[in-house]
Subunit: 289 residues, 4 copies
């Protein structure tokens, strides 16, 4: 199977490498073209613009850094739109909001192309291991044709219906994560301030019905006030805000998520936005007593 | 090793049976004495009052339904206090608040006895399987002498320092649980009202860093609006309240737990107090649109 | 002084009438021109488009129903932009968001015109009585030249700096109002459910340091579950959301406003969006006990 | 009319002085007897114990510093209980919780005496000016016989039903006050961080439907970060906690009060507990940006 691949950041590089390793013919493009070299060593072809990749390949996957980059790759000169047409499929796996997805979908389908949004859950390590979770939505037939690629990239892919649903589902997952992180932070601080060991609390949680990889992975470093940024707090807070906005649209009152969002905002105001989102515990801890 | 055992409710019966199976000599007492019969079949002896059990055994474990029962067994006529003395140890594994534990501790140690509080995390099934988590505090030497029994009853036992710390740790664990349950509920409702499948959300959560037995166990029935009471909502709310009170004592601001507590209160006002605590999702769901 | 006046809704009609009564020469325009008749009886001239009004008058005031109408009157065919030029001033007193104001400002000043935004606090009655509070921002000189008109329309006008600040100040005032309304609602319900008279609570509040026209005006009808819409709940909730978004931009954590916003959202989900914002008390009251 | 008066702190001294000025015969007692001297100059008699005052007077009013003092004056040696009997009335105007009131009521009525609790709203100045608000509950006949005294002490007195209702009503009033103070604080901080003048916000609020003596009185000093303690923050937070507990009893979910309570707790943890409760704005302000 032949696929185009746009965007060779940390995620894109790992994903396109996996496709090559599994026998796909891959044609890559990256804004900084020199980043393509390593992929070429693994057998990839290179094009000089997104449009050329689209022209050459029936299926093109994109993995870009943010909504702005995702839009630029489609709409700018030399972009996807110049060559997309009937018979071609475009699969954008970048994390973008529903509006961005809808805008891209409209443009692609307006030219007769087919579109799937496919944001992923999971970061660098799962990308390298082909263990991402793919939250796809849009053109059902294109989704099904993409399954051989998705099977290489992820451990599971979901088809969620119309364009925008992938973005929404991701927001909801991240909202739960943000509230859970606050629940966890409050518990750790309460243990500590009550004269109990927060390390022992981690052990106890790990043995019970709430045990989960996130508590296990982040708890020990939180107890050492160390927050190397795997998922930056400011991005987590942005996702909470967007999930609350989704709740606003649908008249869902979510007081716990709202309280968690305000805690992340407090953490931002304390200058913690670029640290890992687990640094929200610092907003709970903060006191002068 | 010979132990006394006071209280043969669901938990106490499972626990004392385990002790018998592992070769302990067990002398039991229960308020309704007929409940002792089954234990006798397994080889237990019976006494007619807590005081007699204490008199007969060097170590006595209690597993009673609530603080009121725990106090009554110690202070009433025929109670523990009448026979407790130097050389004897009393281990109360009932779930009680820190004040109750402290009151019992004072009385026991005032007579020269030794005391350990040991509330457990886990309910019927873990009790039967000897897989409880034991949150012990109080007399360190007595804790250590109790380890052979604790090893039969639980998969892990923690010594948490002074009397009251066991009760406090349990509150903190339950507070995290209550906030997490709200985070989960809000996410499930948001998915549903946004046109996404809340069953698919469960699948996605199950594959990611937040996967945990509680979501896995309760999610499917929550999506079916079924809440068979494993841990009644009104008890969960009471524990949230007590954990918030502990935060108040120690000047720990916990806005997410406070919001979760108000959601449980709303659920109580909707008449859901006797259902499982996962019924809090009904307070999130409730609308007239 | 001669002024143009665009928009003769409830507010605009009252305001332009006041200007006429105080000796201003007023040229009016309204989308439905027949609405101008009454003003003509009071001595107003009429034009057939916003552009004509601008052409005729050095100063033009607009009072339109929403951001959409405010933009349309400026940018559509026959709109303000066609005639605005150096030497002319445009004062938009509609309630719009900061972005809308900025967009209009950019267009007007791009043509050499001057712009003041001047949203008001107060509705029909204060408009008729010339008792509005005017939250102006933008061109300082134009603001000063407008004072004779503002003095007729309002009891006080504030100059708040750059364009957008009027809109922001209004959001902040409304955010405080929304949180206060929730504080009040919770107190009234708590009194009632605790066996106290919520009418007596109103009397007590009225005698103390918190006495204010809003509690006095809305309390008695809230206690009768009557919510004739002076300020619709859905608009109040939208303003809370926008104020929270302003807090997000500036990293201000506002947990009380966030909780109040979620209560308004719950009220919306209960179908109360078109009632007065005081109907949020129904979300507090709701129970099945 | 002859009355006894127990407790000559700031409040009690002002109140008993007012009674003397209005022609009441007053017999006073205070723990530190020397404090009685000034009252004697105004014509008061003195007794050496609460019991003696009760013996001498048909009606005795108490104004003590806290629940502990209120209980001690009744139950200790030389206390009220020693002489209270049929035909005598005891009116405790101290601010105490409902339980304390109920305990005192039970003891007094057990001896045949009559009891009214009458906590007040208002502090030193209103006490001196006879402008307190009296929240009375208990024996209706005694309340009515006390009206001549209440008319001297306060501008209005309410009879709220059974003992405990006075205390509850006061908590509810203070809960609304605490939430309002948070609403106000968040608005002031948001204005400031959004580049608006928080002093101008005060002016705008003062002209609108939310204008109230509390905002007017405390706003200017809050904007100067000055918090001279009129009502200490730690007492406000305690009242929020007790009001939330009253909500808990009656299954009233109050998310805004809960959020406000956590903000006061955060302020306590920042070392602000002894300042005025308006210092909660510091918890909103706090940031490192």
């Amino acid at each position: 199977m032949e696929v185009g691949f746009l965007g060779l950041g940390i995620m894109g590089k790992a994903m396109s490498t996996n496709l090559l390793k599994h026998g796909f013919k891959v044609t890559v493009w990256n804004r900084t073209l020199s980043k393509c070299d390593e992929l070429v060593e693994h057998g990839a072809s290179v094009c000089e613009s997104p449009a050329e990749v689209i022209k050459k390949c029936k299926y093109t996957i994109a993995m870009l850094s943010d909504p702005c980059a995702a839009l630029s790759v489609v709409f700018d000169k030399g972009g996807v739109l110049e060559q997309i047409c009937e018979g071609k499929g475009y699969i954008d796996m970048s994390t973008v909001d529903a509006e961005t997805s809808l805008k891209i979908n409209e443009a692609i389908t307006g030219k007769g192309g087919r579109f799937v949004e496919g944001p992923v859950s999971g970061s660098k390590k799962p990308a390298e291991d082909g263990q991402l979770i793919i939250l796809a939505a849009g053109d059902k037939a294109l989704f099904e044709e993409s399954i051989p690629a998705f099977d290489v990239l992820g451990k599971r892919s979901f088809f969620l219906g119309q364009v925008g649903n992938g973005a929404k589902m991701k927001l909801i997952v991240n909202m739960i994560m943000g509230s859970m992180m606050n629940a966890f932070s409050e518990g750790l601080v309460l243990a500590d301030k009550s004269g109990l060991s927060s390390d022992t609390l981690l052990d106890i949680l790990d043995l019970g019905a709430m045990t989960n990889p996130m508590f296990k992975g982040k708890g020990p470093s939180m107890n050492k006030s160390s927050y190397p940024p795997a998922f930056p707090l400011k991005h987590q807070q942005k996702d909470m805000r967007l999930a609350l906005a989704l709740g606003d649209e649908n008249a869902v009152s979510m007081p716990v998520a709202a309280a968690a969002n305000e805690a992340f905002k407090k953490a931002r105001s304390l200058g913690l936005g670029d640290l890992d989102f687990s640094a929200v515990i610092e907003a709970v801890k903060f006191s002068r007593e």
